[in-house]
């Protein structure tokens, strides 16, 4: 039983670590790294379930009858792509947050937001606005 479920338990541990980083750490980039660990642990879970004793990679070769299950592989290929897509968008957001707030620490951002929660003045951050400011200078 220990060997049979070892992979699943490691997956759970990795998942817990990833989730912990996402929730407990305040640095936005670190959160994204945590997200990557979290997602990768799910990939490991799927791939482990596709494994079959005495099987080989699912590429048809003469003389082999036992192949591991190709379907989870396909799903995880898709999921990896989804993962990188999310990471890219998240990183783009981080760059913009750094520009707008001057920091990428969760606490400092929330502090800045709560300071002028009631001011209705917009906190402009668009690049075009920056360009306009520059022209005025």
């Amino acid at each position: 039983m220990i060997m049979g479920l070892f992979n699943d338990w490691v997956v759970v541990v990795l998942m817990m670590i990833g989730l912990y980083i996402i929730i407990a750490h305040g640095n936005l980039i670190k959160k994204i790294v945590g997200l990557t660990i979290f997602q990768t642990s799910v990939f490991i879970f799927y791939i482990s379930m596709a494994k079959i004793d005495g099987g080989t990679a699912p590429i048809l070769v003469d003389g082999v009858t036992q192949y591991s299950n190709p379907l989870p592989h396909v799903l995880i290929l898709t999921a990896i792509v989804v993962g990188i897509a999310t990471t890219a968008v998240a990183l783009a957001l981080i760059v913009r947050i750094k520009e707008a707030y001057g920091t990428i620490e969760e606490e400092e951002i929330q502090e800045q937001d709560s300071q002028h929660k009631d001011s209705h003045k917009l906190n402009i951050h668009n690049s075009s606005e920056i360009n306009r400011d520059k022209k005025e200078c």
């Binding site: 049979g4 670590i17 640095n27 990557t36 596709a50 048809l60 990471t87 760059v95």
Partner: protein, 351 residues
Amino acid sequence: MKRGELIESLINIVLLSLLVGIAIAIVCMKDLFAVVMLAGIYGLISASFFVVMDAVDVAFTEASVGAGISTLLMLVVITMTGRTEHPTRHKPLLAIFVVVVTGGLLIYGTFDMPYLGAIDAPIHTHVAPRYINESMQEVGVPNIVTAVLASYRAFDTFGEVVVIFTAGIGVLALLSVVRRRDEDSVIDSINDSMHEQHLILRIVSKMMIPFIMLFALYVQFHGDYGPGGGFQAGVIFASAIILYVLLFGLSTARKVINQTLIQLIAAFGVLFYGCVGLVSLLNGGNFFDYNVLSSDPIAGQHLGILLIEWGVGCTVASVMIIIFFNFAGRKEFQQRNGNLIDNISKKNKGI
């Protein structure tokens, strides 16, 4: 038989323990640069793990994405945002609570799971046998993963291409800047002085780039017979271009690669993929039914898979290039307007 399996499970244990170790190290590290490098190593080791688990296609993708592109993007972002993490002041009790509940639930769930490698597990007996036994007659491609990916579940893959396209557009929406021509020359001169130092790197990489592109094409076309396919090929092709940008500067690369054109290629890839479906629709089949593309069903399947892999390759390569160009372009923009952005964030702080 026993010895081989023993070694295999030993490797399995070692790799998984390494993963856990790296993950814990990532929790403790405060230097973001080290964290990102560890994340890259994490990706590489999980790719090795996938090889042990016989998932070669997945391993290939994870190696190119988890260890390659995502590390690169994170490094670019770190250069813009600073590399140390502030110590967390708030109590992590909530986090521990959530994590323990989630983990406990999952551990509870594992007790009724089929064991690793069990031959009689439901997933090996219900849907998968048809893919393994019939795909050669029905699709005619030796790599079953490609057969499932590009034919049985072609629509999922279409979704995947659209996801990556969406990411490209999203990054474009967030980071694109309107450039003015006259500023290029200034940047050029800065770059020139910087790049003279990297003579050896430049020469070696220049030699490498054609080979990388050639390899990308090999992966693209060999996907039917071995691990590989449009996605991996696209990433590799993009990495060749990214290498060029890293060494010769963004503005030099802009002269070679037109950004608008790249966007059009990304759009074209998605459209191309979709059009394969539309053509089969017009030929009287269902969407993505390749059998009707040619008089011989197997030839039709081959044609369909070839074409959609092209679509995937085009979109992935160009989206990766778009993403990198926009990150790098934003950095350039920040350098140019450095003082201005500082002022704005100061102003915002002051309000």
